[in-house]
């Protein structure tokens, strides 16, 4: 396979994936706060997987056949969307809870003056 055989989206996804992996590696090697081997591994798997699927689309057929969902790929895609929505919902819930806690803390701090 030469670069001339690649479509634009394949090049774009691969480039973005490489950039994201590079940033992850850089953060990990600089020992930035919150970086861990697990986080780096997840980043490598997710972005590496995207690059692999973009460069070799036939991989998905092999994977689907391997795990036995070849004939029901739409259901898998729908489940994937559902999972993403659930994750987003969970993240928004956490953000909302933290916002509420920050407000409560800020309020308690402001009212401290009256309670002295």
């Amino acid at each position: 396979m030469s670069i001339n055989d690649l479509q634009f989206y394949q090049i774009a996804v691969t480039a973005i994936s490489l950039v994201m992996i590079y940033f992850g590696l850089e953060k990990f090697l600089r020992h930035e706060a919150g970086q861990s081997v697990l986080k780096l591994a997840v980043r490598m798997i997710v972005w590496g997987g995207m690059a692999a699927v973009a460069l070799f689309p036939d991989i998905t057929d092999t994977i689907a056949a391997f795990i036995g969902i070849e004939g029901n790929i739409n259901a898998v895609v729908m489940l994937g969307f559902l999972l993403i929505f659930l994750i987003i919902f969970k993240i928004l819930s956490v953000v909302e809870r933290i916002e509420q806690e920050i407000s409560a803390l800020t309020r308690a701090d402001a009212l401290e003056k009256l309670k002295k």
Binding site: L92, S93, T106, R107, L114
Partner: protein
């Protein structure tokens, strides 16, 4: 008109970067006989707190900006701690006229209502056209989420009885606060009345509201949808 001795009325003014007008708002309220005023400085970057204190208000300060709803709730909690019988909330940008406070608290002092909602007339000649349209849309949105039709769902000029202040338990920090109050009035079956108020559209207040209208409106709708789904 001065306050009735039997009713301890506290005025709550949430303020964010209002140093140029907050002093006038407080002085005007004092002139109308309302001396118990709490300004909640919501993490301002200008000397709002100092200006309010100089004008004679009690000042409580949020270390960081948490939004109008959060600041108003802080003020209401403070007024409750101070033994308020009636709590009035009004904006700090000078658009509300303290001369209206007496009429606003009258139904509560008389025991006819738990909440009095200050209502701006949509036919006021001075009200800019975009404000008329945005208020009508806001009323429709508030009605959809709160299930209660009111003539001015976004007015921050309101009065609460002590019982209502004890009952209401808002979680909205930002501009969705006003709509959440409407929703809770219905939820807790509080008696409410709508009191016509005057409003002053100064160049200052308009410059703030114009900036807020579209972006804040979208955020408010988003928060209301989120609250409906998650609470």
């Amino acid at each position: 008109m001065t306050n009735r001795v039997s009713d301890r009325i506290w005025i709550i003014i949430p303020a964010y970067n209002e140093s140029s007008v907050i002093g006038q708002v407080i002085t005007s309220a004092h002139r109308h006989g309302f001396i118990d005023i709490i300004v909640v400085d919501d993490g301002s970057h200008d000397p709002t707190a100092a200006a309010a204190a100089t004008a004679g208000a009690m000042v409580l300060s949020h270390r960081i900006n948490r939004g109008k709803g959060a600041a108003t709730k802080t003020g209401i909690e403070a007024a409750k701690l101070l033994g308020a019988d009636i709590i009035v909330t009004m904006d700090g940008d000078g658009q509300h006229d303290p001369a209206d406070i007496s009429r606003l608290v009258a139904p509560i002092a008389a025991g006819r209502a738990d909440v009095a909602l200050g209502t701006r007339s949509l036919t006021t000649p001075h009200m800019p056209r975009h404000k008329v349209i945005s208020n009508r849309i806001a009323n429709m949105v508030a009605w959809s989420f709160a299930g209660l039709w009111v003539a001015d769902s976004q007015s921050g000029f309101r009065a609460y009885s002590r019982q209502a202040a004890d009952t209401l338990n808002t979680r909205a920090d930002r501009y969705n606060y006003e709509t959440e109050i409407i929703r809770q009035i219905r939820e807790y079956r509080l008696r409410f009345t709508e009191v016509p108020i005057s409003v002053k559209y100064t160049a200052y207040s308009m410059s703030k509201s114009t900036r807020q209208t579209f972006g804040m409106g979208l955020r408010t709708v988003y928060k209301m949808i989120w609250n409906t789904l998650s609470f």
